[in-house]
């Protein structure tokens, strides 16, 4: 069994008196696609935010490739190799598509530029590279965000609802891109409501409910899991 890429141990996050994430532990192995599902408000995005340092966890530990990363500033965690997208798109609207990608790099500018152009071609946006990101369509902005996340060549990719609000063609492109990432040895964890996407793509699925992990396993087993059905449809 290879060492896990990401290990989360007993993560807690409270808002006021409410536990948004309540003692969640996960372990992700390299080169696989994982799904994170659960009803609205079950703590999926908060878990993402705690892993990426955007929100401070109250308790628990997070390891990336064996090194502890909880408590680090978000930018340090990003440099360690976690890339993410957001549930609500967060491109830099007054920067062009190309600039959106360029800003996240250091080092040689020409290398960065050719990599950015290559990634924009990968998501089929190369013709729009000089357009302000704010002027692009919703789906195109999602692609810019996706490409931007890849600029640093992250080892772990967190996607927050990649399929939401995206048309079929674009969705297929995105899913294709995610599979390619996996094939290149990246690890992917995605939050998704579209069950077809989750079932078709993920090898392992985690289920959150009220901040707790209530199930973990291959998609087929999850679909049949009684606690999961209960969480979604009530008793």
């Amino acid at each position: 069994m290879p060492a896990p890429v990401l290990e989360v141990e007993g993560l807690h996050k409270h808002f006021g008196g409410v536990a948004a994430v309540d003692g969640v532990s996960l372990s992700l192995t390299a080169g696989r696609i994982y799904g994170l599902i659960g009803p609205n408000g079950s703590g999926k995005t908060t878990l993402f935010n705690c892993i990426t340092g955007v929100e401070r966890r109250d308790a628990g530990r997070v390891f990336l490739n064996g090194e502890r990363i909880d408590g680090l500033r978000p930018w340090r965690i990003a440099l360690r190799g976690i890339g993410r997208t957001f549930q609500i798109i967060r491109v830099f609207p007054e920067l062009t598509a190309l600039e959106n990608l360029l800003v996240v790099t250091r080092g040689h500018l020409e290398e960065a530029r050719s990599r950015a152009v290559e990634l924009l071609r990968f998501v089929r946006l190369d013709r729009l590279q000089d357009e302000y990101a704010g002027n692009l369509s919703y789906g195109q902005q999602k692609l810019v965000e996706f490409a931007r996340m890849l600029m640093r060549d992250p080892t772990l990719v967190l996607l927050d609802e990649p399929a939401a609000g995206v048309n079929r063609t674009l969705l297929n492109d995105l899913l294709e891109a995610v599979t390619q990432l996996r094939d290149r040895g990246k690890t992917v964890l995605l939050v998704e409501h579209d069950m077809k996407v989750v079932m078709g793509l993920c090898e392992t699925v985690f289920v959150l409910d009220h901040g707790e992990k209530i199930a973990e396993g291959p998609p087929g087993a999850i679909q049949a899991n009684e606690r999961v059905i209960e969480a979604y449809f009530g008793r």
Binding site: G53, V54, R73, W75, A78, E94, V103, R106, A112, R152
Partner: protein
Amino acid sequence: MFGTGYGVRAMLQIFMWIALAGSWNLISGLTGYVSFGHVAFFGAGAYTGAILVAKAGWPWLAAALAGGVGACAVALVIGYPCLRLKGPYFAIAMLGLNEVLRALVSYFEGLTGGGSGLSLPTLHATVPIYYAMAATAAGVTLLTYAIITSRFGLRLMTIREDELAAEAMGIDTARHKLYAFLISAVGPGIAGALAARDQGYIEPISVFPLAMTITMIVMVLFGGKGTVWGPVLGAVVLFVAQELVWARFPYVHQLLFGAIIVGVVLLMPRGVLGILQLRYRLPRTI
């Protein structure tokens, strides 16, 4: 133009405003962190320069550069804690900074002369000072150009656009903000020391006026925040308008500044050059 003392003096003022407005643009126009107290750096530079000239006998040019360093030091002390604050908190903290510096300057009478001010030995050097001020204005503008065309500049803009996303993409926003803030203090510091030398006398009220911050902000908003030439355009247009028309009606002119701020925010938040940039797809470097 140099035939009259007025011409030199007016140009000196225009260059000073270009340096001030351009510097405000570097922190507030690029990162979106509004500095409501940028005149503090002008005052800090003025006092640094004036004290070095009056008490230590420094030549004015060296004192002017020291003014830039002094303002930068104040920016470091203020910026290190305050830039960790979110935008609105930072803005309010800067609103108070001016009052604080004025109080401190008045308090340390031995060094600053307190409320009664500080006189400098007589020096007839308006024309050399004029060139130094022109160089400061040019320096600030060139620096703005260099920053806006660099990835450092783009990263500063990501702070304005979406600070949280910038952090999550691996950008050390705290350090970027601090650098921008330090750079933005140098121009006002030098300009303050030059203005102090030129006027030969400074007092707390004359170098820390809130009106000066307001003028910088109006000039940048009018010309176009986040652009290279916006502050220059704003400084020239508004200074000329002020001299030609509004100087006769002192409060009306301040009132108009308030109205311009409100109007720009509501009707053309990008300013003149920002609108042109968008409409005619001009490059970022205007």
